[in-house]
């Protein structure tokens, strides 16, 4: 039986307005689902049940008075725990921020709250968003609702799993190297990483500033467009946010695929890609062609080096961004150091996990005098080449296509001890983070293990509209309706 918590937001919104359901009903439905499954999924680090109920009643009162509320009103959502929430603990999945309660809200949540969206809690993630499986959380790993022995992907694994399991209707995550799209693919939900600068980073606790993007998790593309419409647009608090007007991205969804030129990145369907992923993507290409798209082959020659460039640029910025966690002003402070240097060192030694330390050390090294040109400087040049690759490809194509991830969900622990294997999980998502162009992952089928496969569509800078239109047409035609087996148990 489908419950309220399993519906897309636009359907909930319709029911709120017709009086078939209330925001409180939707919240209670999500809370019941959380009670039922989160012991196994472990998507949430912090729950805000009472505040959610209060907020839902307030929205219902306004609906009751006949107010014309925005589409986000009453939609229960979850936020990745790297997004600052005023008065609500925000830990980044790290012990060093276990006690941290931000004095302000991140801009995306501030806008959603303003529109009446309802916060259910903060979701688990790899520590400081560094990882691809959510196993690097300092608290506990999150499980994939499709198979609790597998990972949900990462780093936004908690948000992806929550939406997949019906624990939340919408969720926000962050994508620095694929951390929204890859868990979106592994959990079978729609995941968008928009153009760099379209969504404010104010309140996104930085991992790698030039690569960090806020991204969305939803049940379908229409919800994705609706959620994007709330949070996109210029923010005076983020100097890198683009001068874009807020607009309604749901308005152009139904334009269809006719005449769109889609370039298949053929190199991304070769070695290292699981057969199940390859098969699902190939059949998606046929479907898109049958829907009227012109399919061609695109080449992004420098993306072979994108992973290496990413693993120099991201750690370099991380080494600087994470320097502020020193025990002086907030967060963890070691118990009994005798001077400030010892206090700093022990605080950081105790507070950070292995992957974070690994990247701080890597980044510190690549920025060091004498190595800067060879590492960080060279990586920035590669980044320029990747950007140029995309620009050239978009001269011939409106969209580029490939798998989101080379694999479906892998087993917990399978790659945890092999950082390089884990890093390869993001090989197809990293290029769009380096280039800053929009990219979406939509479910395109299941592999032989019954695990979802994500299809990645990438668009031109600030051309979210075309990406969403194509994804919507594809999704409507495919009619992906499989549900995680866990939900059948929960509903049973």
């Amino acid at each position: 039986m489908t419950e309220l918590c399993d519906l897309p937001g636009h359907e909930l919104g319709r029911r709120f307005r017709s009086g078939e359901a209330s925001a409180l009903d939707a919240v209670e439905s999500c809370l019941r689902r959380i009670e039922a499954v989160d012991g196994r999924v472990k998507a949430f680090l912090e729950r805000t049940d009472d505040a959610a109920r209060r907020a839902a009643r307030a929205v219902d009162e306004r609906f009751g008075r006949g107010e014309d509320l925005p589409p986000a009103a009453g939609i229960p959502l979850a936020l990745k725990d790297v997004l600052a929430t005023k008065g609500i603990p925000t830990t980044c999945g790290s012990k060093i921020l276990r006690t941290y309660v931000p004095p302000y809200d991140c801009t995306p949540w501030a806008r959603l709250r303003e529109d009446g969206a309802i916060l259910l809690g903060k979701t688990n993630c790899d520590e400081f968003a560094m990882g691809s499986s959510t196993e690097n959380s300092a608290y506990f790993p999150t499980r994939n609702p499709w198979n609790p022995d597998t990972v949900p992907g990462g780093s936004s694994g908690g948000s992806a799993a929550a939406v997949a399991a019906g624990e939340a209707v919408w969720a926000l995550g962050t994508d620095t190297g694929g951390s929204v799209r890859q868990p979106g693919a592994l959990c079978g939900v729609v995941a968008l990483k928009p153009t760099y600068g379209l969504i404010s980073r104010y309140g996104l606790i930085a991992f790698a500033s030039s690569l960090d993007h806020v991204g969305t998790f939803t049940r379908d593309v229409r919800d994705c467009a609706a959620l994007l419409s709330v949070i996109a647009g210029k923010d005076p608090l983020d100097a890198t946010s683009l001068s874009t007007e807020r607009r309604d991205y749901t308005a152009d969804l139904d334009g269809g695929l006719d005449g769109l030129r889609i370039g298949v990145v053929r190199d991304w369907l070769g070695e290292g890609v699981e057969p199940g992923v390859k098969a699902a993507v190939e059949s998606s290409i046929d479907r898109l062609a049958s829907l009227g798209a012109h399919i061609g082959e695109a080449s992004l020659p420098h993306t072979d080096y994108a992973l290496s460039a990413y693993y120099l640029i991201a750690p370099a910025e991380c080494s600087s961004n994470l320097a502020r966690y020193d025990g002086v002003r907030y967060g963890h402070r070691t118990a009994d150091a005798t001077d400030v240097v010892e206090m700093n060192m022990r605080t950081r030694g105790e507070g950070f996990g292995d992957e974070v330390k690994r990247r701080i050390i890597l980044g510190t090294y690549s920025l060091s005098a004498g190595y800067y040109d060879a590492y960080y400087g060279q990586a920035q040049k590669v980044r320029t080449l990747v950007i140029r690759d995309f620009a050239q490809a978009y001269e011939r194509f409106d969209l580029l296509l490939g798998p989101t991830s080379p694999t479906t969900a892998f087993r917990l622990g399978e790659k945890a001890e092999d950082p390089l294997a884990m890093y390869l999980s993001d090989i197809f998502t990293i290029p769009s983070d380096l280039a800053g162009n929009p990219a979406i992952s939509v479910p395109c089928g299941l592999d032989e293990k019954g695990l979802p496969v994500g299809l990645q569509l990438m668009g031109r800078h600030l051309d979210e509209a075309t990406v969403l239109r194509a994804a919507h047409a594809f999704e409507q035609d495919l009619g992906f309706s499989a549900r995680p087996p866990l939900l059948e148990e929960a509903s049973a």
């Binding site: 925000t90 600087s320 502020r324 400030v340």
Partner: protein, 488 residues
């Protein structure tokens, strides 16, 4: 003794007097209870982001334009990474290889000669907070604990770096006096060294006269007045000269100036092991001023101190040396011109300001701007002296009284009876009395000892408590003593 010359470069940090801090909306004001002028941004809270202050960028460009620097069409902020508890993010947003201003120069006057000091760069950065080391001895190494005040964290700070063109402690002083005057004229900073809104480090080395290569550079820090920069540089040049004379090698290091003991001592020599790992600040786009913006700022530049001094010479007939004294700092020049506008005779006004008034300010350690003496006071004093209402002596007394309580000059003259007695009948009676009381000197004068007249005038002044017009007193005395030799 080796013939050596000093090679000095000065790095000045100027806190801008913008309304708000560099990257957030907190008020930019000196002082305040600790940690009351802070927000998530200037405290470096997770997720907060910097937004550049347009006024600070404009002030920096104005400084650069006034120094004749080239304004970069694309300038970048960089992160300077190092751990220090007074720096909330453990990196400072600063500028590195693409500063807002490059090159330029500042002309200084030393001993009547003009020297051109080339500029290296003008860049914009954020200030740090302040660490207070608490403990029984007050020494950092022995402190029991440290407290942090982040009110100053994020205040916009401009770094003005000269080329190593300064050759003596006197030139270092002249450079700072001129730079301070320039900043004052631009109205971009409070330029108070004692409050830290203007800070200066000196890079000092010595080399054999005529040598091309630079000697080992020593950075001297912790000078809190222009005078202490001059003293510290003098000490450091001598120290290095003596070391070379003894055949000792100098170490590249940072040295701390001890104002009380008048010496420099090594500090943080480990600093040279620091690697700041500069990289472009990803949270900030480049600063890309267009031609229009630059030209608008250029057009807004006020008259700069050097031009103003030239005008004082031409327009008011001041001696160049006097013009330098008056025009040395914006507040003095403004004061002077205001006094002239209110009717003061320019040259006497300049003399009063740089003489008696300057002495009073020095003696009481008061700044011109905070003193009770106004340009109107000076205008009145010069007017009353020139129309003979008060004598120079009376004027000195009047100025001292005005300095003490800010009363009007005429009020002081009346209250204290400082008006000159030029009235012949009033003065005549005093002259009669003096002649009667001093038969000896009167006799000497009549005997041809001309000089005695000075003594007698003095007696008239004394008897009138300084109020007599001395010229008039002398005239009456001569008249009295030559016209009627028998009357005494």
């Amino acid at each position: 003794m080796t013939e050596v010359e000093a090679v000095i470069g000065l790095e000045c940090h100027v806190e801008l007097s913008t309304r708000t801090k560099m990257f957030c909306g907190c008020p930019n004001e000196f002082g305040g209870d600790p940690n009351t002028r802070v927000c998530p941004v200037c405290l470096g809270h997770p997720g907060s982001l910097p937004v550049p202050n347009r006024q600070a960028i404009e002030y920096t460009m104005k400084i650069a334009l006034a120094l004749g620097s080239e304004i970069a069409r694309s300038s970048l902020f960089h992160r300077k990474n190092y751990f220090y508890p007074d720096m909330p993010k453990n990196y400072q947003i600063s500028q590195y290889d693409l500063p807002i201003g490059t090159g330029g120069h500042l002309d200084i006057d030393v001993g009547g000669e003009t020297r051109r000091i080339r500029m290296n760069r003008v860049h914009l950065e954020e200030d740090t907070g302040k660490t207070i080391h608490a403990g029984t001895t007050g020494r950092i190494a022995e402190a029991d604990y440290a407290l942090e005040d982040y009110n100053r964290a994020g205040v916009p700070l401009v770094e003005v770096v000269s080329e190593p063109d300064v050759r003596s402690p006197e030139e270092a002083r002249a450079y700072l006096v001129e730079l301070r005057a320039l900043l004052e004229a631009l109205d971009v900073s409070d330029v108070r060294m004692e409050e830290g809104s203007l800070r200066c480090d000196a890079n000092v080395s010595v080399r054999t006269v005529g040598a091309e290569e630079l000697g080992t550079k020593v950075e001297v820090k912790n000078m809190n007045s222009i005078r202490s920069v001059e003293r510290a540089v003098r000490y450091e040049v001598e120290r290095q000269r003596e070391a070379l004379d003894r055949g000792q090698a100098l170490v590249q290091e940072t040295r701390h100036w001890d104002e009380g003991r008048g010496v420099t001592s090594p500090l943080r020599s480990k600093e040279y092991a620091f690697d700041y790992r500069y990289f472009p600040e990803p949270d900030l786009p480049p600063v890309e001023p267009d031609e229009e913006w630059i030209e608008k700022l250029r057009a807004e530049l006020p008259e700069l101190p050097a031009e103003r001094r030239r005008r004082f010479v031409e327009e008011y007939g001041l001696e160049p040396a006097m013009a330098r004294l008056v025009g040395g700092a914006g507040s003095w020049a403004d004061f002077f011109e205001e006094a002239v506008r209110l009717g003061a005779d320019p040259r006497p006004a300049a003399n009063w300001m740089t003489g008696d008034l300057a002495a009073l300010l020095r003696e009481h350690d008061v700044d011109l701007r905070s003193s009770k003496v106004t340009p109107a006071h000076v205008a009145e004093i010069t007017a009353l002296v020139s129309d003979g209402t008060i004598s120079t002596t009376g004027a000195k007394q009047a100025l001292a009284a005005v300095f003490a309580d800010g009363r009007g000059v005429r009020e002081v003259v009346e209250d204290e009876g400082l008006a000159q007695i030029s009235d012949t009948s009033a003065l005549g009676a005093i002259v009669e009395q003096v002649v009667a009381d001093n038969p000896g000197p009167v006799e000497q004068f009549r005997g041809g000892k001309e000089g005695v007249i000075g003594f007698l005038v003095g007696q008239v002044m004394k008897a009138s408590k300084g109020a007599a017009n001395p010229q008039e007193a002398q005239r009456l005395l001569r008249e009295r003593l030559t016209a009627d030799p028998q009357a005494g």
